[in-house]
């Protein structure tokens, strides 16, 4: 190919060299200095930097291409087990989160009424002093427990936990009860671990997906694994009231009636136990409570489940036989959340037990490597103060088997409103958006109204920041260090690829600064982010520069528990608990049992929500690249039903639940059960500080009703019933 330089190229070259000249006269910025020391960026500011994605919590490895100190492209890191060289659309769009024109560049202090969006810029010193003084005042007047802390699953979480536990508050909100509490608690009660890892090897023959829309709710490597398993000819049976993209690739799609996944799985157990299709030696050696389980499921025949699920009895029986024939190379995927109802804990237990009966341990399921590695160092710190106050989220006094680290977020919000068992007065929120994530947005705003002080750490003015008193601008994932992430026999690094926009700072820096002002400096014994990482790396004998150059360090893997025959499980009995005495002791059924879900009234629909490939929760709708390639969010309704109601695609409709009402446009489609409607969550933002996302779509949280599974504390996200009429 011949390359000719046009007039336009000349103009570009001219502009670039002027820029380079101006830069050269200044001292090189911090990131560039560090990157040059590690050899990842040359003297011109160009190069490739290894880091980790944060467009969702899967954390793929990435390689960022940097030109003139700007990140211009992200590619998947082939050496990272979560990306294997690929990135999903969100990962590809990541630089647009960093270069979002709506980024918060300085600390902000509210000057108008809450929700008016009037803020003034402040220095870090002023903002941090204000936050520390407000928190101290609340602690002195009402006790430390009057401060609520919440943050979502991220790598700086240990330091966030330091902040809240050192401060002395028991009130810790995570998003997990809005997502997968049922799955985590079910696995913990059965296997003694949160979530086993899944093995997609060449022998895998049968995959049962209960609402796990893996081809739209993308976890890059697992999505790849599933497609390759299908490619090799594995059978996939997929349960979902919607014909999703996963349904279209499945061998068999079963449009099950929402809330009845439990009936389907109880019937599978009925056939498998009744016809002795399970792995007897594995069950005898590794489990307890088989007789109790057998007795309970004997009444759940396929004929019983058929009218509940809308799936013929012979189909259920056939799938039970097929699954057993394929075992142990058969996987019943827990999913993260099935159609979520108050009975979801039992559904998840039934799925977990189905795997256990097949003896597929160490064949398709195995122990997952933790996110904390015993091989890494950490700064010294004192013990936490003793905390005696009750938790506002009802753990454990109302939810006895929900782990502390997981909690029941919607209950926490409800008790801020009720003031029971005591009144909360402040809320520290980091990288989380409860106004959009919690069901019943009106109630969350009411909770905000009860509080004297709200501070939010984020990169943009999300809805929660919009209603806060102080906003602290965090550096984006391409601009900051985070604590190391162990995975397999490596630890991976997130490192800054470019300088932060404006005065944005890392969470490691923010928590340390705040800790110092609260008199908790001993819990943050690192001089800066790099010092924290050096202390983590010390036991490995690896230099930070080496890790920066490669993006990871070798670290011996935590010992695997070995062959299943000698395996002991981290449960009270040391076995896989088909019957759980822990559950029985606190008054729940020790084995999965049928719990009839509530039904919509005549004229009402099940309101379903579910992920799409081009967004993550409610945090990416302002990303211009994702906005470019996302479809306009609309309310799906079965085309036949819509025709009967005189509704057509693009009609504006009014959607009403018992807690709220929204207006949105309709999509009449064949791809959904006639008794359901679906909307993509995360749209309909209130913050006018999000100029791309504002005014797009309608908000699901505004209509979602709060129902909590009494065992796992999970929000029953599919248990909202709505009416739909022409707006």
């Amino acid at each position: 190919m011949t390359k000719t330089i046009s007039r336009r190229d000349f103009l570009k070259l001219g502009a670039a060299s002027v820029g380079a000249l101006a830069m050269g006269q200044m001292l090189p910025p911090k990131v560039a200095q560090a990157a040059r020391a590690a050899g990842t960026i040359n003297a011109e500011g160009d190069g490739f930097v290894h880091s980790m994605c944060e467009m969702c919590v899967w954390r793929c490895g990435l390689i960022a291409k940097v030109v003139d100190g700007r990140v211009v492209k992200l590619d998947g890191n082939p050496e990272h087990p979560h990306s294997r060289g690929n990135l999903c659309p969100r990962g590809q769009s990541g630089l647009m989160n960093t270069y979002d024109p709506d980024r918060v560049r300085t600390p902000l202090i509210r000057v108008g009424k809450r929700g008016e969006g009037k803020f003034r810029q402040a220095s870090w010193d002023e903002a941090l002093d204000l936050v520390a003084s407000k928190m101290t005042a609340i602690k002195n007047k009402y006790g430390a427990e009057a401060m609520v802390f919440s943050s979502t699953h991220n790598l700086s979480q240990p330091l966030f936990e330091n902040l809240l536990y050192a401060f002395g508050s028991p009130n810790y909100g995570t998003q997990r009860s809005l997502c997968f509490n049922a799955m985590i608690v079910a696995n913990t009660m059965t296997y003694g671990m949160e979530e086993p890892a899944r093995i997609y090897d060449d022998k895998l023959k049968y995959i049962l997906l209960t609402g796990r829309n893996l081809l739209e709710a993308i976890s890059t490597s697992e999505t790849h694994d599933l497609i390759m398993a299908i490619d090799r000819g594995a059978k996939v049976v997929y349960l979902d009231p919607r014909y999703t993209k996963t349904a279209s690739k499945a061998t068999e799609w079963l449009p099950i009636k929402p809330g009845n996944d439990l009936a389907f799985h109880l019937a599978l157990l009925n056939v498998i136990i009744g016809e002795k299709l399970y792995n007897r030696s594995f069950v005898e050696k590794n489990t307890i409570g088989f007789d109790e389980l057998k007795k309970e499921v004997s009444r759940y025949t396929p004929e019983w489940a058929a009218p509940l699920t809308g799936i013929p009895a012979e189909t259920i029986a056939r799938i039970a036989h097929e699954f057993a024939d394929a075992a142990p190379h058969a996987l019943a995927h827990n999913g993260w959340r099935t159609s979520n109802f108050v009975n979801s804990f039992h559904t998840q237990r039934a799925i977990t037990i189905l795997n256990a009966l097949m003896g597929n341990w160490d064949v398709v399921l195995t122990e997952a490597g933790g996110e904390e590695s015993g091989t890494l160092g950490a700064p010294a710190q004192p013990a936490y103060p003793r905390i005696s106050a009750l938790r506002l989220d009802g753990v454990p006094w109302k939810y006895p088997v929900v782990p502390f680290k997981i909690g029941v977020f919607q209950e926490l919000r409800d008790n801020i409103v009720s003031g029971e068992p005591y009144q909360a007065h402040g809320w520290f929120i980091s990288r989380q958006n409860p106004i959009m994530s919690l069901p019943d947005r009106g109630k969350t705003l009411k909770a905000f109204g009860k509080l004297d002080f709200i501070v939010t750490v984020d990169i943009v003015l999300n809805d929660t920041a919009w209603f806060s008193d102080v906003v602290l601008p965090e550096a984006s994932y391409l601009e900051r260090y985070d604590p190391l992430m162990p995975m397999g026999d490596k630890v991976f690094l997130r490192q800054p690829v470019i300088e932060p926009q404006g005065e944005a700072k890392s969470a490691l820096w923010i928590y340390k600064q705040l800790g110092a002002r609260l008199g908790l400096g001993d819990y943050f014994q690192y001089t800066d982010e790099e010092d924290y990482l050096r202390q983590q790396l010390a036991p490995l004998g690896v230099s930070l520069e080496d890790v920066k150059a490669k993006g990871y360090a070798e670290a011996p893997e935590t010992a695997h528990s070995g062959e299943s025959s000698e395996k002991t499980w981290n449960t009270p009995s040391g076995k896989i608990e088909l019957f759980s005495d822990t559950l029985a002791k606190v008054g729940f059924s020790g084995v999965p049992t049928w719990d009839e879900p509530p039904q919509p009234d005549e004229g009402q629909f099940f309101l379903l929500t579910g992920k799409i490939a081009t967004s993550t929760q409610f945090g990416t709708q302002n990303n211009q690249l994702l906005h470019k390639y996302s479809e306009e969010p609309r309310l799906w309704m079965n085309a036949q039903t819509a025709a009967e109601l005189g509704l057509a695609t693009d009609d504006w409709v009014e959607v009403t639940s018992e807690v709220g009402q929204i207006h949105t446009q309709l999509l009449a489609t064949q791809a959904i059960r006639p008794d359901c409607v679906y909307m993509t969550p995360g749209y309909g933002h209130l913050s006018k500080g999000l100029k791309t996302a504002y005014g797009v779509g309608a908000n699901d949280s505004a209509v979602h009703v709060t129902y909590t599974d009494p065992i796992s504390g999970g929000q029953a996200l599919s248990q909202t019933f709505v009416t739909v009429k022409k707006a």
Partner: protein, 259 residues
């Protein structure tokens, strides 16, 4: 990767999950304007009636034809078929006539209606990421694809791979590699489980359209010369005939006069 003599893509519709990572990757890699795209998702979407449904998706961009119609139609030579596969476009030569848009059977070249002749580029299309493929990287769309629905390699090897995949799963695939022969062969090859027409692909003959047109065009001058000669001959003949008729008339006149 083996040496690539002819750069090509293989798209497998059975693997595509319509996630659009390729589209975002292309937009970032090539700094494509926010209101434009060089990759499209086409295909049938959802077909059928609940609950008997089927879904198809095709991701496409420039097919990089072996006999590019855009190049054939371009009056100023702005298109080049590079020997190793890519069809390139030179905005500096383009005069914005849009003949290529009409000529392309896949509707690929897109006209930049926002820009005037002074601003340069008129047409936007896939470049095959030369900045990547000549530096040992896959094109941006291929590199990121989370399901390997898009693959990149040597055309002959990808064709071989495609046929192997069909042979391994004859029940799954339509027994045809679209682009192997269509329009004289393309560098974007497609495997599918549903008819190619349902993916929005035109039914093209194996002989490239432009091969016919170019042959015709090649004959223009000889034909014009030949036709000119014929016409000259005819004109001469007519003249001769007229002359004869005139002579006859003159003789008759003379004869009349004699009477």
């Amino acid at each position: 990767m083996t040496e690539i003599k002819h750069h090509a893509y293989l798209f497998d519709a059975t693997r595509c999950i319509d996630c659009r990572a390729c589209m975002v990757a292309c937009s970032v890699e090539n700094n494509v304007d926010m209101d434009k795209t060089r990759i499209w998702v086409a295909g049938v979407g959802i077909k059928g009636t609940y609950p008997d449904l089927q879904r198809g998706t095709m991701v496409y961009h420039c097919m990089h034809c072996n006999h590019p119609d855009c190049m054939s139609a371009c009056p100023v030579g702005a298109y080049t078929k590079v020997e190793d596969g890519p069809v390139t476009y030179n905005p500096d030569l383009c005069i914005g006539c849009r003949y290529c848009m009409n000529a392309c059977p896949f509707g690929v070249p897109h006209f930049d209606y926002d820009k005037g002749i002074i601003d340069g580029a008129f047409i936007d299309k896939c470049t095959f990421c030369p900045q990547r493929i000549y530096n040992g990287q896959e094109p941006a769309c291929v590199q990121t694809c989370p399901t390997d629905a898009l693959e990149y390699g040597d055309r002959d090897e990808l064709i071989k791979k495609a046929h192997e995949r069909i042979a391994a799963h004859p029940d799954r695939y339509i027994d045809h590699v679209y682009g192997e022969f269509e329009n004289g062969g393309t560098s974007y090859l497609i495997l599918s489980h549903i008819p190619f027409s349902a993916l929005g692909l035109p039914n093209l003959p194996e002989t490239p359209v432009n091969e016919v047109s170019e042959k015709v065009m090649e004959m223009t001058i000889p034909f014009a010369l030949g036709w000119g000669a014929v016409l000259t001959g005819v004109a001469a003949g007519v003249g001769l005939y007229n002359k004869k008729q005139e002579d006859k008339a003159a003789i008759a006149e003379k004869a009349e006069a004699v009477k």
